[in-house]
């Protein structure tokens, strides 16, 4: 219930953030959406939890159909075909697909008691997530797809090997290393100047070779063969990833996309406009100082310097007007909410609710991590909303649906028999 109160509070705070952008139309709409979300939250708390469990499949199917439909008849806004328009109101089905997918995942995983030690169930779970993700990727909306990848945390909690998480982390490191080295130019002793990626690849091969050769030294003979294979496989994969990435960066991506990625890593792309959004965002947050400039008094956000400031870059407004205090409180509230959901998840008797709670936590976490990371210049500029704070009806109702279904299920935790 603390979370419930927080939801409403931050939602209205988010709504009034819009006020000082002079977009009275957007502000008015946001109030309507807040009201609608409250009604929806109330309805969700009235409906019996069992209803959600039983209709998970239908929910999921409807969402997939909506995603298909939006691809067919949707409106193209900002390059992505992700909107249904009803008059002046736009609906983004991808926001609701998160709930549908979470429900379906929970339903499927709670039915299969065997979890992830079988390839079949792993494949099924991945398929459930991949179908809507693929449809969203077709829109294309990379941000939401990235959110879906967060569900890997659910898999992990439900038995996926921790090695996979480590592999994901490693591939992330390899990616960063590839991009950084790929953008630099190195004078090679005999070959002349070329991209630094060659150096990275050389190092990978050397370390891999060394490890492979020294396997006998650090492992018991029984496992020698297996470990050699693992080393060979992982380094081959790393090399493949790195080479593929470099090729993709140079040959497949268009220059402005490449620039965006480079900007993220602080590489000078020679185009002052490539990092225009993020520079303004950083400046706005930075100018807030400790206490901020005061509510409604931040010139950067008030006067249009920060792009998309009522949606994706809303964190800038908090940063500029409330300063470090405001941003810290926001981060803590989000973290508290995430940890609270984890605690909720772990107190469930029902597998369904636990899995669903983890899905909710993962999705909220991805939104939070990517959105704030983007504004702080730590993650790529990917347009996804900050839950409950960003303006936008679909995202607000989407998150309301996501969270309040969980609250309803949690309220019924004692009715479930073990």
């Amino acid at each position: 219930m603390v979370i419930g109160l927080f939801n409403v509070a931050s939602a209205t705070a988010g709504a009034s953030t819009v006020e000082w952008f002079d977009f009275s139309g957007k502000l008015g709409k946001q109030f309507i959406w807040v009201a609608a979300s409250l009604v929806l939250a109330f309805l969700l708390l009235v409906i019996e939890g069992e209803f959600f469990i039983r209709t998970s499949v239908i929910h999921y199917a409807v969402n997939v159909l909506l995603l298909l439909a939006v691809l067919a008849v949707g409106n193209r806004i900002g390059g992505a075909k992700s909107w249904f328009s009803f008059g002046s109101i736009g609906i983004q089905p991808s926001e609701f697909a998160k709930t549908g997918t979470s429900l379906m995942l929970a339903w499927m995983l709670s039915r299969n008691q065997d979890r992830f030690n079988q390839w079949g169930s792993l494949f099924k779970a991945v398929a459930i997530v991949s179908l809507p993700a693929a449809l969203i990727l077709l829109q294309p909306d990379a941000g939401t797809v990235l959110v879906f990848t967060g569900l890997i945390l659910v898999f992990y909690r439900e038995g996926l090997s921790g090695n996979v998480l480590i592999a994901v982390l490693c591939s992330l490191l390899i990616t960063i290393a590839t991009i950084l080295s790929g953008a630099s130019t190195v004078q090679y002793p005999f070959a002349g100047a070329a991209t630094g990626a060659w150096m990275l690849w050389l190092v990978l091969v050397l370390i891999g070779g060394l490890l492979w050769a020294t396997v006998p030294q650090w492992t018991v003979p029984r496992r020698r063969k297996r470990n050699r294979r693992a080393v060979l496989f992982s380094f081959a994969a790393a090399l493949l990833l790195s080479v593929g990435l470099q090729f993709g960066l140079e040959e497949v991506l268009r220059p402005h996309q490449k620039d965006r990625i480079h900007v993220l890593f602080g590489i000078d792309v020679g185009n002052p406009d490539a990092d225009y959004n993020i520079r303004h965002a950083k400046a706005a947050i930075s100018s807030g100082g400790i206490t901020g400039k005061g509510y409604l008094k931040g010139p950067m956000t008030a006067y249009g310097f920060v792009p998309e400031q009522e949606t994706d870059f809303i964190f800038c407004t908090i940063g500029e007007e409330w300063g470090l205090m405001g941003t810290t409180v926001t981060l803590f509230v989000f973290t508290l909410m995430l940890l609270r959901i984890l605690a909720l998840a772990e107190r469930q008797r029902s597998d369904f609710t636990r899995i669903y709670a983890y899905a909710v936590a993962s999705i909220l976490f991805m939104h939070y991590a990517i959105n704030v990371g983007m504004v702080l210049g730590l993650a790529p500029v990917i347009g996804i909303p900050l839950p409950f704070i960003s303006a936008g009806g679909s995202s607000l109702t989407g998150f309301t649906l996501l969270v309040f279904i969980l609250l309803r299920l949690d309220a019924e935790r004692f009715t479930v028999l073990r």
């Binding site: 945390l153 992990y156 909690r157 439900e158 038995g159 921790g162 002052p272 406009d273 225009y276 520079r279 303004h280 950083k282 400046a283 706005a284 947050i285 930075s286 100018s287 807030g288 100082g289 400790i290 010139p299 950067m300 008030a302 006067y303 249009g304 310097f305 940063g319 300063g323 470090l324 941003t327 810290t328 981060l331 803590f332 989000f334 973290t335 995430l338 940890l339 984890l342 998840a345 772990e346 983890y358 936590a361 976490f365 939070y368 991590a369 704030v372 990371g373 702080l376 210049g377 730590l378």
Partner: protein, 600 residues
Amino acid sequence: MKLRERQWIIGGIFLLITFIYLGRLVQMQLFAHEWKAYAARLTEETETLEPARGLILDRDGNIVVNNKAGYDIWFTPRKCKAAGGLDTLALAELIEMTPDGLARAFRRAENYATYRPSRIQKQLTAETYARISGEVWRFPGIEVRRRSIRTNPSGLASHLVGEFREVDQNDLESNQGYRLGDYKGKSGLELQWESKLRGKRGTRHHIVDIRNDYREPAQAGILDTLPVPGEDLQLTLDLELQAYGEQIMANKRGAIVAIEPSTGEVLAMVSAPSYGTDLLTGRDRGANYDSLINHPNKPLFNRTLRATYRPGSIFKMVQGLIAMERGVLRASNRIACDRDIIGCHGTHTLDNLEEAIVHSCNPYFHEVMKRMIQDGSTGSIFSDAHQNLGAWSASVRTFGLGTDLGGHFPALRSGSVPDTTDYDRMYGRKRWAYSTIYSISIGEGELLTTPLHMANLAATLANRGHYITPHAVHGSEGIERMESGVADEHFDAIIRAMSTVVTANDGTGMRAATPGVTVCGKTGTVQNPNGNHSVFIAFAPADNPQIALSVYVENAGAGGDWAAPIASLMIEKYLNRAVDQRAKEQRILRAKYPFPEQPL
């Protein structure tokens, strides 16, 4: 249950991310000063408030030089680029530029600074501004700034007022607070009184929005300062007289300078041909300047201060006065008109001083000067001249000739009154005698004066022996009474002669006769290979002089023909505020440069 333990790992990931973000926030919000500075640069704009420049008024408070609004177009490349560029063709048409010119201006702006605005078009009129002001917002990076520009609505006294235009590299480096694109006085009074006229700049700090529109004052305006307007400059000029002078000097080359003898105040300074200063402050300055500087009549040349002419016969009064003061001449002395020594004109044979001035007798003054220079005291004509010329030059300078007249006109050329050293340099030490230099006795030779010097001479004669340093601005510092050292009684004969010049039936200056006014004057006809200059100095009324003036008409012939009637018209205009001598006026107005070789 092992899987249950994994909640801590997942929770740990959440906390890790939060702490990374917190660290980043602390770094950004507390320490990243370059980002704060960047934010300030984006949102704060300092606007310079230009003070209103002081007006220039005539002696009665009529406006000579006024301010008017000019609208400059400024362009910030960065803002334009950020907004995705603009329609250059439409803009060029809107702000009255050619597309090529606009492209060049854009390149210049880009080279200067991408963040700072550069001016790409100057001084659009208020009418143009009214037409385009509604459109400008459509062009990102373009803004209109109002500036005060100078206008001289009557176009009068342009030479005296001087130029007001954009600062150049020297001004920028002069450490007087000028910035690129500022305007300042570059010549004349605008330059001389720059510090007084200029006033003090104010600044206003604004918060601007992404379109660079002002939204609110920064820090509630505590940093702002108000501009201090420049002080007005009141001239001694009589604008009506100046206007009349410029009217009657139209189509001629020459100058008129009129002075109030009792105060040294300059009443009119006409240099013909003239031009409107507005030609040189506006947007077409370049083209206008070219056509003016290349004009054969040299309209930009300020003849009142810069043109040096030989004084001619007018100098004879000075000669007579100095000689009387030295005691080598009495007004009653008669000297034979010996035309073997030096040419003369008219029918006189044995004039006294008064008659000699009226008849402008050359041999008379040849003899007068000879008495001063070649007095036989050393027994050598070379030594005599060498010994005596210095004293003579000093006496001449007490009439202001060859001096800067107190320095109120920085552009004034001193002219020249030759001294011993000058001739030593020209001919060698003691290699010259009076016979070498006698042409200066009748105001020719090495003597050079400007119209202002001659008007001042007229004032000195009117004051019977002193002048007040001539000046054009009320309240000028260093206005002094300068004594010529010639005793009052010596002026009787001279002034009587000057009156006769005008009143006598055969007087050379009879055309200066003005109904109801006793005019004292003296004609001069300055030798010039392209046609002699017509010169006249005068003051009036004789018993209580209100105005003293010099008139020069280049290549017009005898002094009595053109300069004298012009002086008469000016005197009448000043004393009576109206001109009744219609025929005289019409004749002058019709006259045009070049004059016929032998007028009338």
